[in-house]
Amino acid sequence: MRKPVEQIEAATILFAGDSGDGSQTIGTQMTETTALIGNDVATLPDYPAEIRAPAGSLAGVSGFQLHFSSEQIHTPGDLCDVLVAMNPAALKVQLHKLKPNGILIVNTDNFARRNLRLAGYEEDPLESQDLTKYQVFGVELTSLTRKALETTQLSTSEIDRCKNFFALGMILWLYNRPMEYTMKWIKAKYAKSPQYIEPNILALRAGNTYCDMTEQFAVSYDVKPATFEPGTYRNIEGNMATVLGLIAASHQSGLPLVYGSYPITPASDILHGLAKYRNFGVVTMQMEDEIAAVGVAIGAAFSGALGVTGSSGPGLALKAEAINLAMIAELPIVVCNIQRAGPSTGMPTKTEQSDLLQMFYGRNGESPIPIVASSRPFDCFEAVYEACRIAVKYRTPVIFLSDLYIGMGAEPWKIPELSELPEIKPNFTTSAGPSDEFEPYLRDPETLARPWAKPGTLGLEHRIGGLEKSDVTGHVSYDPENHEKMVEIRAEKVARIANDIPPTEIFGAQEGDILLLGWGGTFGALRTAAENYVAEGLPIGHVHLRHLNPFPNDLGDILNRFKKILIPELNSGQLLQLIRATYLIDAIGINKVQGQPFHVFELHTKIDEILKEIEHF
């Protein structure tokens, strides 16, 4: 008998278990199903530390959080409505994320003494008083799955690997979602090992039926579709959006894409993703190290291709010397930095925004390089495309900043029309010009870009390199005035990109008490916080910077329209430092350096404080 259905606006679910428990898989299935139904969705996979942890240990807990809503949302949610804990370790690690009175589903079969000990529980939490503030549902997930699959040909250990779908079946019931999408997915996934299709589907159904038949849940929930702009949508992860953005830039510009890389978490997926699209002429080269990888991109750019490289913090440190060569040689390459928590090896599976100043200044000498940051998973497409556009138009390396949080997070994306994509024109030089002497450092008067002359073009033979070059002719020069001039030209070229940036959008109040100024992966938390205050009618605005170098021309003006500038960052205050130096404004940082994204409530707390201070003045 179908139980009552309650309409709610949004829900947040966290699946947690051992790395081998398949939480990522069912999280993704729930995400896709929910997106297809028309909810807005945001996800946050939370991988265990980059260590192979023993089964059942705290270090081995893998989580997948998903937030969906009938309204537009921007974050994977702060606290959760439902926590699915496949073992005691998952419970221990993730319980603090569950809302009071939230639904806690645990696999009681995994709460044997050994597992409790591994998780550091002295006594069984299911029997103690600790969980009384939650709605606890102990389910014998393993036994129930085994029973449901006893007629199949699978071994017990194979059957046990299906239990995640039992759990998914329950959650689909709880939120009134159809099972079709997942069934289709299972069929496709196991097309080559068809013996697994039926059992997984059986487990899924069993979980669903289990809720139907038992008195476990008093109600089920429904989240109506969100209102989206009209268009065709898909669900997309940040790193995949980066892959598509790069291919799109290559396709639209007509430049072959050459991606040089060396694996590193969390940037490797861009290499993996691009490697699949050889039919777009995409060349990926897994090189011996990060230096070789950027070398390949530089060489490709010299040859007239779109040279791209990607890595994360430590890899970026290694690339610095070569990026500087691309800068002085004025060759268009794009350098992707999918940031993770530093310093040094740091916490490779956690997120952070702490490479901004490295990207600005981490090279010897005066070395200005444009920096473009994406703000959310789907935005990676537009942002990396913009990086390619700037690189080609201005003949300069461009840094594209993303981070682990947006790179691995997913959300619905309105697929753009190809005709909406900005133009990228390589404008190769094909002849020496009137003087008949090709001048490789003669500049475009507007952009200050120098000519791009591909090897293979008759009459444009020329030599470039990392020694200072004479203006116009490009010959090696140690002339003092020339050096100063070239340093100025290179800075001015980057500065002029600001003329090519649309006016800055301010969300919420256009002037007033507080401006939240952010960049990168904190967009969701900042926008949600801003929406909340704006809904209360408070004079608070939010600006999220896509271009970090140069800053938009109108930024100074905007900053002056607010009493306080708040700069929340997942670092110790890096944009803060730049804004203070540039605009001499006493901006204030809200900083979190925990390898975790902001919770909206953390922002609220700080903003409330500041609001109080402002009132006291």
Binding site: E32, A35, L36, G38, Y181, P230, T232, Y233, R234, N235, L244, I247, A248, Q252, P256, V258, G260, Y277, R278, N279, F280, G281, M285, M287, E288, I291, A292, A293, V294, G295, V296, A297, I298, G299, A300, F302, S303, G304, A305, G307, E321, A322, L325, A329, K414, I415, P416, L418, K454, P455, G456, L458, G459, E461, H462, R463, I464, G465, G466, V476
Partner: protein
């Protein structure tokens, strides 16, 4: 010999000359530097290759030798220390039509650039690498390099002598899977030119070690192999299919004693040419090539000159191009709009 991919000058077009390959820049090496000769031989050889000069790219790292591209009227890129192989790989991959030459020094290739060097060898791009070995850092004024002899006191750095065992560049290249390995000498112009040509003709990475004199900081380090009066006794020319004979009167040879090379006197009545090792540059197995490479590490043996190994393996850029072709055949030419719509989509209206 397979046809090179590099496009050739159309028949009937004016032939190029040495002067076509000279850039307008003053050549700036010390008087008597061995680099001058290598530059001249290269400028003389390129017109013979039959490829348009706009299709030629010289890529170098940093060092005296690495100034080379500035003096060539081709495309050129004087990059950063040790990284030329990586940039050359990008150049070649992005446009396999180009004839790509890497110019490097013993420090550039084997010290800071050692890793890129060995990885370039194993990938087997169709790139030609010329290593100017002067056994010293010239540009930074005379420190020892990875090919400097142990214990050698250098102009300034190791005032008490280098402690490092030198690398043998050929052995390293062979161990890395190099498909074409050769050696020549800066001033042996009639030997160097055919080597340059053979390197170009070889499809795959070609590596030539060139003994080069640094007149200022390491004069005469190769005196025995460079100077006319010594070289007949201290070098042995490798010819495919020929026995290893040397000496002014062709009176000496190299034979195998167990696994060790040994010099024999062909005039002593005891030894004949049939005892000698016969060179096989096309052997797939590298044992012989390794053995020949090792000779220059053994005192009193002549240094082999010529082609140590030349075998045909697939080139990286061809394998990649094949992957692109196969993928395109299988999945169709990339359709961006379809790609963006890949997977499950839904429409909001």
């Amino acid at each position: 010999m397979k046809r090179k991919r590099t496009s050739r000058i159309p028949v009937g077009a004016p032939t190029l000359t040495k002067d076509d390959f000279k850039s307008d820049q003053d050549v700036r090496w010390c008087p008597s530097c061995g680099d001058y000769s290598i530059l001249a031989q290269t400028q003389r050889t390129l017109p013979e290759l039959g490829i348009p000069k706009e299709n030629i790219v010289f890529i170098s790292g940093i060092g005296c030798s690495s100034r080379f591209p500035y003096y060539m009227n081709t495309y050129g890129f004087h990059t950063i220390h040790g990284r030329a192989p990586t940039i050359a790989s990008g150049v070649k991959m992005a446009n396999p039509e180009l004839s790509v030459w890497v110019i490097t020094g013993d420090g550039d290739a084997l010290s800071i650039g050692g890793n890129h060097f060995i990885h370039l060898m194993r990938r087997n791009f169709d790139i030609n690498v010329l290593l100017f070995n002067n056994r010293v850092y010239g540009l930074t004024k005379g420190q020892y390099s990875p090919t400097s002899e142990r214990g050698q006191k250098m102009y300034q750095s190791a005032s008490i002598g280098s402690l490092d065992t030198p690398f043998n560049p050929l052995s390293l290249a062979l161990a890395s899977g190099a498909t074409f390995v050769a050696r020549s000498v800066d001033v042996h112009t009639d030997h160097l030119r055919p080597m340059l040509k053979a390197a170009f003709e070889h499809k795959g990475t070609s590596f030539i070690e060139i003994y080069q004199n640094c007149h200022i900081f390491n004069d005469d380090t190769f005196i025995l192999q460079r100077k006319k009066e010594h070289k007949t006794d201290h070098t042995v020319l490798l010819e495919h299919g020929e026995p290893l004979v040397f000496g002014a009167e062709h009176d000496k040879g190299i034979r195998l004693n167990g696994f060790q090379p040994e010099v024999v006197d062909l005039t002593d009545g005891e030894h004949t040419i049939d005892d000698l090792i016969v060179h096989d540059q096309h052997a797939e197995d590298t044992t012989l090539a390794n053995f020949l490479a090792g000779m220059s590490d053994t005192p009193d043996l002549p240094h082999p000159m010529g082609i140590f190994r030349s075998v045909q393996h697939p080139c990286y850029e061809n394998l990649m191009t094949n992957q692109i072709r196969t993928a395109t055949e299988r999945m169709g030419e990339g359709d961006l709009d379809a790609l963006l719509h890949d997977g499950e989509t839904w429409i909001v209206s």
